[in-house]
Every structure is written in C-alpha cells, then in structure tokens.
C-alpha cells in the first residue's frame, strides 16, 4: 500500500512538474479597457516570425505610450501558425471568434494568407499581410492589405539593376521550390522578358537542402555573369558560400531575405559583395527608421534581425487608420477613428495594385507594397552591415534615372559592391 502510495506521489510530482513548466511557459495576457486588438499569425518556430513579433511590440509600445489610437490601446496576441495553411485557418478562427480581434497581422507565408482570405472577408477582419506573392494581389480581396513589397517588384528592380546598371548579359537564377522562390522566378522571367532577355539557367532546390553544387555547376556551365538567388534562410547563406567556392566570378543578387541578419550569420564573409533588394534597412538615416532601430535596441539589446521587424512595426501603426480610410469599417466599431498613421504601406488595399498594373503603369504601386518609411522620403541611403569591412555604399532607389519604365520603386535595392578578393 505504501509502495503504491509512493509511486502515486512520484507520479503526481512529475505531473506537477509538467504543469509547472506549462504554466511558466505561458504568458498571461492582460486586458485593457478600450483596446484595439490585433491578432498576430506567424511561424514563430522560424526567425521571421520572431522578428515580426518583436518589431510589432516596439510599435505597439510606442503607440500606447502616446495614448493609443483614438483612445484605443493597442494589444497584440501572437499565435504560431507553423506556416501551415491548416493551422493558419484554425488560428484565424480562434483570433476572430475567441479573441475577437479587430485586425490580423498576417503571416509572412503567402499560402497562409491565401488560405485565410475568405475568413477575413466573411468576418470583416482587416488582414495586414506579409506574404509577398503576386497571388495575394490576385485575390482581389479588399480586406487584405500588404506592407511588404510585392515579389513582382523585386523582379522588376532586379532586372532593371542587373541589365541597365550593371550591364550583365547572362543572368541565371536558383530558386527555392516553395511559393516564394517560384513566384520570384516567374516575376524575374517576366521582368527580363520586358527587356527582351531570357534567363540562361533556372535551377531549383528544395527547402532545407544543404548541397547546391549541381545547381551551381549548371549555372557555371551556362556561363552566367549574374546569378539571382531567391530562397530562404539558412539555405540562402549556405548557397552563397558554395557559390563563392564554385563560381567565384559571378555577381550574386538576392531578394529581401539576403539583407537579413540570419543570412549574414550563416553566409559570413561570403556575403561580401552580394546584392539584395530590400525595402527596409536599419542603417537608413530616415529619423523614423532610426527611432525604431533605437527603440528596438533598447528593448531587445540587439539590432532588428530583418526587415520583418520594421514592416511589422509599420503595420501596427497603420492598423487603426486603414479601416476608416478605406471605408471598411466594421459594423460593430463605428466609433473607431483614424489614428496617426505614419506609414503609408497599409493605406491602399491590395486590389489597387491590380488596377494600376492593368493600366500599364506602376505609379503608386510602390506605395502599396513597399515599406513606407524608406520610400516616401526618397533619402534612403543604403549601406552594408557595419561589421563588414570595405564598406562602400551605393543606392539604387527612387528617382534613379535608370528606372526608365516608371518603376520608381527600387528604393531599397541595397548595393554591396564587390570587395577586392584575396
């Protein structure tokens, strides 16, 4: 009897231990009086999700310290969608019906945005999406707005710079076989076609691959002088390292992932002399950006890891105002007034992009899709991450004469000139 009692005691102890762990891990949420609730959806098991989380918190703290939006305090609840559309759908319901959020700061994975789109429209929830795919635009869903650059734009910027500025003749691409990479490839092909050019090689890899030698060798065989890599971290970093080893002479261009700290960490010295299109950089001297970076450093003791932090912050600032601006007020919140929206990213719903494109021009498009702070001022001076030597910066941005086709949106293209190789 005593023995079984002791066994029970030890079992209970273990159960208590587990319960304790669970409770310790859980963060209790506090409730305010007048709150504007945002639900955050991101893959928190990945770095991007974590960046969105921390970036948004900075903006929210700042807004709340200033008295909130029209008297509403902002509050954000994050959930991990594991980039799975199924989980994303479940969690969107949870946020909408259980947590009764007013807006959702969408996932950075376009598939999750696509999977939850109908829920947003049905329940009149504003989705501030982070997915960059053109398909998100094609949804034509007025309840989805986007603060990140459209992949279409990345393609155009890359084509403009590589062909017109750098004078490259043979362009190849290696892309990740996920929606991000495939979208990027299609957009690049379209942008090059506009310049009567074709890719000399298009190679794919699967997410999580560690060895890219066969793709790189094919690129080498094609004799490419410019190589576009559209992939995620850490694959991108490993790929750049191997590219430096196998085809040292090719110029490497990347999408915004190539301007994130995790990429730099993985690629190390191999990142020197690569190019990346990005809409947000923490060394942008724009006071708004700098203020954000300072606040971030103060809170987390580290610089923002990637553009998601900045975009996420900008998104939160806009969450309040967008609804009114677009006449998309929720019926149950007629009193909600526009706050001091400072970014412009979220101001135009995604369907506007489509209209502009249909007209053949891209005026205004950048305002839709690119991060507000870096674009509006036009004073973006790009640079490199300070910890790399041989810094030399150049900018290929707004108003640059090269963008003859009217795409003035390349503001964020960060140029990282080749460093002399040893």
């Amino acid at each position: 009897m005593t023995q079984s009692c002791g066994r029970w005691m030890s079992r209970m102890a273990v159960v208590a231990l587990v319960a304790g762990t669970v409770l310790a891990l859980a963060v209790p949420a506090s409730a305010g009086e007048k709150v504007f609730k945002i639900g955050g959806l991101a893959a928190l098991q990945q770095g991007f999700g974590r960046s969105m989380q921390s970036g948004a918190q900075i903006a929210i703290d700042e807004i709340n310290a200033a008295g909130g939006v029209s008297g509403y305090k902002m509050q954000i609840t994050w959930l991990d969608d594991e980039t799975s559309p199924a989980t994303g759908r479940t969690l969107a319901q949870r946020l909408i019906f259980n947590d009764k959020v007013d807006a959702i700061l969408g996932c950075h994975a376009s598939t999750v945005v696509l999977a939850t789109a109908d829920l947003m429209a049905q329940n009149q929830i504003l989705d501030i999406a982070m997915g960059s795919a053109q398909k998100v635009t094609e949804l034509n869903n007025p309840w989805i707005v986007r603060v990140r650059e459209n992949d279409l734009l990345t393609g155009k910027v890359l084509a403009n710079y590589m062909v017109d500025k750098a004078g490259l003749k043979k362009i190849a691409i290696i892309y990740m076989s996920e929606q991000y990479g495939m979208g990027g490839r299609d957009n690049l092909i379209a942008a090059l076609a506009a310049k009567n050019m074709k890719l000399v090689a298009a190679e794919a890899h699967n997410q999580g691959d560690k060895d890219f030698s066969s793709q790189l060798l094919n690129v080498k065989k094609a004799g490419a002088d410019g190589l576009v890599l559209i992939s995620g971290v850490p694959d991108l970093g490993i790929m750049v390292k191997q590219a430096r080893q196998l085809i040292p002479d090719v110029k490497i261009f990347m999408s915004s992932v190539g301007a994130t700290k995790p990429f730099m960490d993985v690629a190390g010295e191999a990142a020197n002399g690569t190019f990346a299109v990005v809409t947000y950089t923490e060394d942008n001297p724009n006071p708004m950006v700098q203020k954000f970076v300072q606040a971030f450093k103060a809170k987390y003791n580290a610089p923002p890891y990637d553009f998601f932090s900045g975009l996420s912050g900008s998104a939160c600032e806009n969450a309040g105002c967008v609804q009114r601006n677009q006449g998309l007020q929720r019926r149950d919140r007629p009193d909600l007034r526009c706050g001091q929206g400072r970014g412009i990213g979220a101001r135009t719903p995604a369907n506007h992009v489509r209209e502009h494109e249909a007209q053949g021009g891209c005026e205004g498009q950048r305002q839709v899709v690119l991060s507000a702070q870096t674009l509006r001022t036009g004073e973006h001076a790009s640079g490199m991450f300070p910890r790399f030597a041989h810094r030399e910066s150049g900018s290929y941005g707004m108003g640059n004469p090269v963008s003859a086709d009217g795409v003035r949106a390349g503001a964020g293209l960060r140029v990282r000139p080749d460093r002399p190789r040893v």
């Binding site: 098991q45 699967n206 691959d209 030698s213 066969s214 793709q215 191997q242 960490d265 190390g268 890891y305």
Partner: protein, 285 residues
C-alpha cells in the same frame, strides 16, 4: 564530385554514431540527428560564437557535455524501456527528437546561425576549384575517428565489454559485467560522435533545429553500407553523397531527396544487409 565526397563524409560521420550504438546495443537511435544538432549548437553557438574558446578546450568541453548528455538520454529514454516492445523504445526516441528540437528553439532562438569553424572561409585552390579547408578537415577527422573507433572496439577492454553486452546482455551480466553501465557508456560515446559531427558540419552548413533531419541521411548511409561494419557505414555515406550529387546533376535537383531515399529504400528491399554486411540468418529465433 569533390563536394559529393565531402557531403558523403558528413553522412558517413553521422553514420558512425548509428553504427556504434547498433553494434553495442542492437538499437537504431532515431534521435541521433538531434545529437548532431545539439553538438552544432553547443560548439558553434556557445563555445565559439559566445565564449570564443580556442579549439582544444572547446572540443574537450564538447566531449564532456555530449558524453553526459548521452548518458542522461540513456537513463531516461532507453533504460526504462529496455525490456519493452521495440515500438515503445522507438516512440520514446521519437519523443526525444521532438523534445530536443523544440528545446533548441527555446534555448537558442529560432534564427539559423553560422559559425566560423577552425578555418573560417579559407579555401585551397586546386585547378579552377576552390575547396574549403573545413571540408578537408572533415574528411581527415572522419578517417581519424574511423581508426579510433576500430581500435576502441576491437582492442580495448571497454570495447570488448561493449561487444560482449551487444552479443548477449544476460550472459554478460552473469559474467559480472555491469551491463547498464556499459550501455550508458555506449550512449555517451555515440552522443559524442554525434556532437563531433555537429561541430564539424556547423561551419559549412548552418546551425538550426532543422539540422536534425540530416540524421536520416546518416541512417541511410548505414543501410547502404552496413550497420554492423564501420567501413561499410563510411562507404555507404560516400556513396549516398555521390548519388545525391549525381542525381541532382543528371536527373533533377528538385527530386534529389526523393532520389536519395529511393536509393536507400531500394537497398533496404533488395540488399537489407548492406554492401559490407554479412547476411544474417533471417529468423526470429
């Protein structure tokens, strides 16, 4: 081809950990990939990036930590299920894998990390090719570990004890061998092997929880080579690396993993004893 070779060496290195444990306990540790990941984190992120320890003390500390960790894993995830159905042990190890992956995410953040390694990004130029010194280092270390393992297993007392335990736990126990201790040491050693593999691959790959998956390939290497022969495991690793590189070059880089797994599965079905294994009598007796 060179990169296929280096990749193959990595697989072979991971395969060593599997084959050692299999020889000693007759168990295939599906959580071996997690040991590799853990080794990469401990060495790469803590010792190198944060503490800036020099190579030798860092390596020593890694060996100690991984050894203790392996023993702890044995104590909590293997010993309680020693007499249970194999299914129970495997489920427990799957849980260990999930747990370690998630804990890595919590302890170190989810951002993938890089580390410099002993040689940084320096390369050796041979003809038109540049070869990372780190790759050469991996090949050299692998060969060294192969020799050490062979010697340890065949010549030393502890190796003999482990082999005795592997052959027949009960008889070994009757002979006065502390089987629990021997199995614990086996786990410790295979965890150290995993840790060293992690340390070696960290500079050429990246450090992230997803690194666990690489364990499967090491396992595949064992299937192609042999679980019971150390050289077999090594050869299997090399072969897998080359098949993967050639497969992606000539068939499709997208189906590279599919090709690799198809290759492994074909071996499982048509030559389950592997290239270098002796066909064991297939009986349940």
């Amino acid at each position: 081809m060179v990169s296929g070779l280096a990749l193959g060496c990595v697989y072979g290195l991971i395969a060593l950990g599997y084959s050692f444990l299999f020889n000693a306990v007759g168990l295939i540790n599906i959580a071996q990939g997690s040991f590799v990941m853990l080794g990469a984190y401990v060495y790469g992120v803590w010792f190198t990036n944060q503490f800036h320890w020099p190579f030798i003390p860092a390596l020593a500390a890694l060996i100690v930590i991984m050894g203790l960790f392996g023993m702890a894993c044995e104590r909590f995830f293997y010993r309680p299920f020693k007499r249970a159905h194999l299914r129970t042990v495997l489920v427990s190890l799957v849980a260990l894998g999930i747990l370690l992956g998630n804990l890595a995410l919590i302890i170190w953040d989810p951002y993938p990390k890089g580390t410099k390694g002993l040689f940084g990004q320096t390369t050796l130029r041979v003809g038109g090719m540049a070869i990372f010194y780190q790759s050469l280092f991996i090949i050299a270390s692998t060969v060294l570990l192969l020799i050490v393992q062979h010697w340890l297993f065949k010549k030393t007392t502890i190796g003999k004890v482990m082999r005795a335990v592997a052959l027949d736990k009960d008889t070994a126990a009757l002979m006065g061998i502390e089987t629990d201790l021997a199995i614990s040491l086996t786990f410790a050693y295979s965890s150290i092997l995993g840790g060293i593999a992690g340390m070696l691959v960290a500079p050429i790959f990246s450090i992230e929880p997803f690194l666990q998956v690489i364990g499967f390939k090491g396992f595949g290497a064992c299937i192609i080579g042999s679980f019971s022969s150390i050289t077999g495991a090594m050869a299997g690793g090399l072969m897998l690396g080359v098949v993967e590189t050639l497969g992606s070059a000539y068939i499709s880089s997208l189906y590279k993993d599919a090709i690799a797994y198809a290759f492994i599965i074909a071996f499982l079905i048509f030559k389950p004893e592997g290239l270098f294994g002796t066909r064991s009598e297939e009986s349940g007796l």
